[in-house]
Symmetry: C2
Subunit: 262 residues, 2 copies
């Protein structure tokens, strides 16, 4: 626990990870972010020194965690002159650990499979954490950190993690977008979004008992053309949304009789 850790980034993932590290007694000694608002906000929340100046990043830390957008990781890493080959980790689902190999002999990944927003608290212990590193001893270090932070941890290589991340986009980002569309339909018709929340909760809760394929309900799976046509009518002149409605409905029906879509 005496290892000095620096977090590079102060976004949604960095914020929750930093708070979890502090909570578990880790020596988080610095936060870097390009954005002064984000850096300050996370600095204040955690009581950790923060900087927006890349040259001010501590050179003697033991572990650097890059929690940045995928394309920013290498660019920021190359601007830091690391001393003594520290352990460099990133938190990205779709980025190979090798992206960090240019900057240190010791590198790996710590990928929390969850949707984080700064405004929402969650229990980090319940987040499934996927870890990986370039050597047995580094893997042990990351495994140790992971199991201290979270109850469910998975040793997972680059390729498997990328596929998990793709699945997460469908399960989380795309389903949340469906909620947005629902909210939009309700807003435009002055119906309170509250009314649909129990449905959203139950849809998600259901998959604890039933596989999503078995849990599928609605006009598309019943091939109820009359209802689907009414819905398309209600979407009016919005050609994009009609296309989306038709496309997904067709796929639900096709998917029904198949083993899988791949």
């Amino acid at each position: 626990m005496t290892r000095k850790i620096v977090i590079i980034g102060a976004g949604n993932v960095a914020t929750h990870l930093a708070k979890a590290l502090i909570k578990e007694g880790y020596n988080l000694c610095q936060i870097y972010s390009r954005s002064i608002e984000s850096a300050r906000e996370l600095g204040m929340k955690t009581g950790v020194h923060y900087t927006t100046n890349i040259d001010d990043i501590y050179k003697q830390a033991d572990i650097y965690i890059f929690s940045l957008s995928d394309s920013a990781i290498a660019g920021v890493a190359e601007k830091i002159s690391f001393e003594n080959n520290p352990l460099l980790l990133h938190t990205a689902g779709s980025v190979s650990k090798e992206v960090l190999s240019t900057f240190s002999k010791n590198y790996g990944v710590i990928y929390p499979l969850q949707t984080f927003s700064k405004q929402r608290e969650l229990n980090f212990r319940e987040v499934p954490l996927c870890y990986d590193a370039n050597s047995k001893s580094n893997t042990n270090i990351v495994e140790n950190i992971s199991t201290t932070l979270c109850d469910k941890t998975y040793h997972m290589g680059d390729e498997e993690r990328k596929k998990l991340h793709l699945a997460a986009v469908f399960a989380c980002n795309f389903s949340n977008y469906m909620y947005s569309l629902a909210e939009d339909v309700l807003d435009k018709n002055n119906i309170d979004f509250e009314i649909i929340k129990p449905l959203i909760q139950e849809t998600a809760a259901k998959i604890n008992d039933l596989s999503p394929k078995k849990a599928q309900t609605g006009p598309a799976i019943r091939n109820d053309k009359s209802t689907m046509n009414k819905h398309k009518e209600l979407l009016g002149d919005n050609a994009e949304l009609k296309k989306l409605y038709t496309f997904i409905s067709n796929n639900i029906l096709k998917f029904k009789d198949k083993d899988g879509i791949f």
Copy 2:
């Protein structure tokens, strides 16, 4: 509570509604279904007389609840010779109450806004129930039943209910389909679906604190082209799914800076 009720249908909605009526002490006196398996199953669950013979449906009930697929309602109703203008109700989101006006002077709707599967128990009291009827006195009857069954009830006309149903398709059926796609990606790569359940639960729970638009995360909202391209690569030869991925990702980005999609 002494009114005699017949349920026409023994599907997912009929099953949960019948159980709720029994629980609240209503006199559910018969269940009709075309399917002997469904009729028997629901009859056994509720201890209520069941039949698959449309001519055996009781003629002297006070209330008939049609819980059938949208296009089947009128066809079944016209085969029953109702006596004394009973109150006819259906449970469909997208069907006007007027579909029942040919068969009785008394008609209306009782629409539970929830996703039901026979295999999954749920607390019917927590289901938002939308009701409507053709007259003040019939509306009072349906309101009374609704408030007995559920804590949150809404008097809602045909047009409003149809829009709510459209929103429900996005929020529930389409988001569940996204879960199916995630499951499929994981299955094909021998990753246990369990790992992604906390993400699905949190995505749904989040909208209790944040509007879905504010809760949106992932590569599309960040316009992270590199990750999106990797994902499309992983989707391999599946042109349909690539199209879906691209289409939804583009829409998430467009939606970001708009007031709404309509």
